[in-house]
Symmetry: C2
Subunit: 310 residues, 2 copies
């Protein structure tokens, strides 16, 4: 049997069919056109599913289920996208609408949860039943897998891992609170820290090479050229990431923590200091329940695979 | 069918038999004598079980299972107490030893986890499948119930909720890290905050009534007499508790958070400001996944009931 996965984004809808090993056997992508009514977008999702089934030489009857990874708050139990600002969707019963068209069960979860699930079925956490995926981007996203299943909690509102405290009453966060992990460990926060360091050290190489558009990579580029100020920004940023990882270890004792998002492409350069900090600071220190800490593997395909695995 | 619960403490071993409604039908308590070899303590646990079965007019064959709530780190999968300093137990296969004597399955978990489970089967969280119990005492203990089961994570090392950050690099914690929730929200921390406030405000009523032995109640007694300094200590202490609760909401979205330990006897006086802070600060604020926040109900019986429910 096959499964269908839909990665519903604010810009594109990516649809794929996976086989029993969660390998994508066919895929197709269409623009979301999120400015349109939800019913039109869902009709396009359905058409994309038909296209991808045709590509694979299959029909819906060959598929066990369909899954959707959506941005925003999803009510997985009832198959309803409760609130997704970048789609302008509020209380959209997307599962029911696709079930009526394809007559197979349609499941729904948040895209961050799907990415975590995908890593357990086909990525860096294959076979792992208790893990957390943390994605560093504009914000800090999280997906928690407990006992092989997504843990999203009441009204699927949990795993907002970016919004646990690092510093009570610290830096302002987009969520309205102060001191959240996201305000220190997101790529956005790294860019802020890069700017602040360049301003504080105007004669540093970092300040001199500072481009018009600063990204999460800028500080790594400066460090590559031997800049000590940039190295210090990176060192401190790794502490921010690792302090949050340590909290995850103490609270949930996952077997594995995966790091996703653009920053994770820095690989061992950031993973090594993160691992060292976790081992030094978790409960029981080096005798504690230290998880495997690695970069996520699946990148763009995580959305389709995770949705298919729902 | 009945079940046997053993609450193994550093001072006493409390054994009880519960019926299908988790009501204790007979119980018996003996001193632990933790200075003795583990085998002797376990022999006494067995004798206490026999005493309590006789009291109830039952035999082990009338019981479905036996459970043990132990301090320290427990390997629930293998039934081994890995490390319990106040018992001086290291790698003690307590379950196997009692199974050989009673020929029924014997389960094991940490006492904080048992207390949480007890509240779901017979206390304030009856019927609730996703909840967290936080106990404020010398430290901050936690038990997490997900999908009706204890979540303890890898090597049963999780739910060390006291050791998640409130302030990166903040107050020193007993675990070796700085800034843990426990260093702000435990009864020990409240006593420290009480002393500091009395010292900073030597003319306050709090400073004047300060007894020889300051306890977690001292500051509440001063507030009862209208002392503003004491009121401010309590206000800030509730923020510390509530900030950690808010993290639990954002990460796990439990349906309910219960507060246990001596401080919880202050009831609405601390629960009301805690609830208000959580609603103001959780993700989505007043539209967020705000759990029911209550005091735990079972007190001393939680250990026996939770162990029996394993």
């Amino acid at each position: 049997m096959y499964r269908i996965g839909i990665d519903l984004g604010g810009t594109n809808i990516a649809v794929g069919v996976v086989n029993e090993n969660y390998e994508i056997v066919a895929q197709h992508s269409v623009p979301t056109g999120a400015e349109r009514p939800a019913a039109e977008v869902i009709a396009d999702m359905g058409s994309a599913v038909e296209t991808v089934l045709a590509k694979a030489g299959l029909t819906a009857a060959d598929c066990e289920s369909m899954g959707i990874g959506s941005p925003g708050t999803c009510d997985s139990e009832n198959g309803v996208v409760v609130r997704a600002y970048n789609l302008n969707w509020f209380d959209v019963p997307v599962c029911r609408m696709l079930e009526e068209r394809f007559h197979i069960p349609v499941y729904l979860s948040n895209d961050a949860n799907c990415a975590a699930l995908a890593e357990t079925v086909a990525g860096a956490a294959r076979g792992c039943r208790n893990m957390v995926l943390i994605t560093l981007g504009t914000g800090v996203g999280g997906g928690i897998i407990i006992d092989g299943k997504i843990h999203a909690g009441m009204r699927s509102a949990g795993a907002e891992m970016g919004h646990v405290l690092l510093v009570l009453d610290g830096e302002p966060c987009t969520c309205g609170r102060r001191g959240c992990w996201e305000a220190y460990a997101s790529a956005t926060a790294l860019i802020r820290q890069t700017k602040e360091a360049a301003k504080a050290h105007p004669t540093s190489l970092l300040a001199k090479i500072l481009p018009e558009e600063i990204t999460g990579r800028t500080v790594f580029d400066a460090a590559d050229q031997g800049d000590a100020v940039a190295e210090e920004v990176i060192r401190r940023y790794c502490v921010y990431i690792a302090a949050g990882f340590t909290d995850l270890v103490n609270a949930l004792a996952p077997e594995m923590i995966l790091l996703g998002g653009g920053i994770s492409r820095q690989g061992e350069r950031i993973l090594e200091p993160i691992r060292a900090y976790v081992a030094d600071n978790c409960f029981g220190q080096h005798e504690g329940a230290i998880p495997v800490i690695q970069a996520a593997q699946l990148g763009n395909e995580a959305g389709i695979i995770g949705a298919a695995a729902l």
